[in-house]
């Protein structure tokens, strides 16, 4: 196991679920409850010092019991290394802690995850849709059960068949 993952496991034995290292990327999976404290550890602990948030992403695994996976990618500008933090969320209780208090850039990134996948973020200052329209009612487009063509909202748009003379 990578030493960073080992360090997280030592500090948070209850919150640590697993770690992988593949193609040079270190990924640590943690429980949802321990997420915020582990993120705070990554941000402020001098040995970690992950001051830069790269992106927030989400993956839908419809067959799993905990359906959604939220993925954060952090970079340490001083130590020049990356880490990926992952946590799983069930569909029935689709909420995780927001990390906007640790990285201000997380604001828009988390809004995008909410908009596309429908995962809500606790303590987010302004959790609204960001790319889809505010009155969009078809759900969350990047979920796997959302058809590529959409759910028919666009078919209700009125078009003129021909230009009136």
């Amino acid at each position: 196991m990578h030493q960073m993952a080992q360090r997280i496991q030592d500090e948070f034995p209850a919150g640590f679920v697993g770690a992988t290292e593949w193609r040079g990327d270190v990924a640590v999976t943690v429980t949802r409850d321990a997420l915020h404290s582990i993120a705070e550890f990554l941000r402020h602990e001098p040995g970690m010092d992950f001051d830069y948030i790269v992106h927030v992403s989400s993956v839908d695994w419809p067959d799993d019991e905990e359906r959604f996976e939220v993925v954060w990618e952090f970079y340490s500008i001083r130590k020049r290394r990356r880490i990926r933090l992952k946590t799983r969320v069930p569909e029935s209780d689709c909420i995780v802690d927001s990390l906007t208090d640790l990285w201000r850039g997380a604001d828009f990134m988390e809004r995008e995850v909410y908009d596309m996948m429908g995962i809500r973020f606790r303590n987010h200052p302004d959790l609204r849709r960001i790319l889809m329209p505010d009155d969009y009612t078809e759900g969350y487009p990047l979920r796997k059960d959302f058809p590529l063509r959409g759910k028919g909202w666009r078919d209700t748009f009125e078009f003129l068949d021909e230009v009136p003379q």
Partner: protein
Amino acid sequence: MAFEDQRTTVYKVDPEHPESKTLPTLRTEELLLNMGPQHPSTHGVLKVILELEGERLVKSTPVMGYLHRGVEKLAEDGTYHQFIPHTDRLDYVCAMYNNFAYCRAVEKLLDLKVPDRAEYLRTIVAEVQRIIGHQFWVSAQALDIGAMTVFFYCFRDREILLDWFDELCGARLTTSWYRIGGVERDLTPSLIEKLKAFLDYFPPKIDEYQVFLEKNRIWLGRTKGVAVISAEDAISFGLSGPTLRGSGVDYDLRKYEPYSAYPKCEFSVPVGKNGDTYDRYWIRMMELYESVKIIKQCLEQMEEGPIMADVPSVTLPPKQRVFTNLEAMIQQFKLFSEGFKAPPGEIYCGTEAHKGELGFHIVSTGGSKPYRLKIRAPSFIHMGAFDHMARGYMISDACTIFGTYDIVMGECDR
């Protein structure tokens, strides 16, 4: 510093002033103003709701998504090769860099080694694209501020490079020249000659752009001390590229995580001090000189060799062989109909595009299509810092502040 005052001073009515007594009905209230989505300076379709006190911005809320085409959803429906043309349409000003970032990400997923000549070709074309991107930025930013001449001078030189792209791959903007495992075709002697001629022609032109702007009082007044962001805030917001380097952080993936032919070239990364629009402008101008240096070194060092990795299960066969050889034709047919199978796993790969870090996060379950593909678009992440950077400035500065990120809405909304 004189510029700090501009940010902190708020003009209020003095009740003791004799003139204010003659205006008994005077009252102040906040004004809400919609800027866009059809405003000419918003670089596409972007709406910003501005809360104003007089002419000062109190709060600004970007409203995005007018150009959302669901690229990430489309990626899940096509093979890895089929997504390359979609990346052209992200940042449509600089398509080559998007192709590059995507192909690098897939190569990382496949653990594919690209031949040396292809790496040099990729670096050369990426740097040509960086020159185009920075020329486009300076011309658009100057036009927003009102300096029209620079726009024409930049576009005159940009046209030479777009014609060069046309000769290289048959398209000026939506290029799709990069391939997974290499590049689509080699530089011809005529292209190399034209590029060398351009490299001799171009550096004096950069000086020309600078003369137009750096001696221009309006340009200096509208860029110096505007949209200031400290290094700490810039890192916290996840800014990247010249927008972050303007604040004095030398974060450049070409140096931090060297890739392609960059480790074999000598170049420096210009870093600003004040974190204002002027420093970001200066960085982009200096990067033009650095790009010229990188291209020259690549042209010197480049040796003959294959331009595509030879992994028949993944990479496309050369076009000549497809028409003459049965196996190559079958290979081509299979790759375009069902694609190749990527190993199950998850990667993130960031590339230093001219706007900032353009990254692809790909989750594969072992199929021929990405299970999930997430694009880390610098324009989108930069817009997150807009409210913070615009507070206290004037309405007329708003368009120069999203100009300073080099924002392209195609990439922002995806």
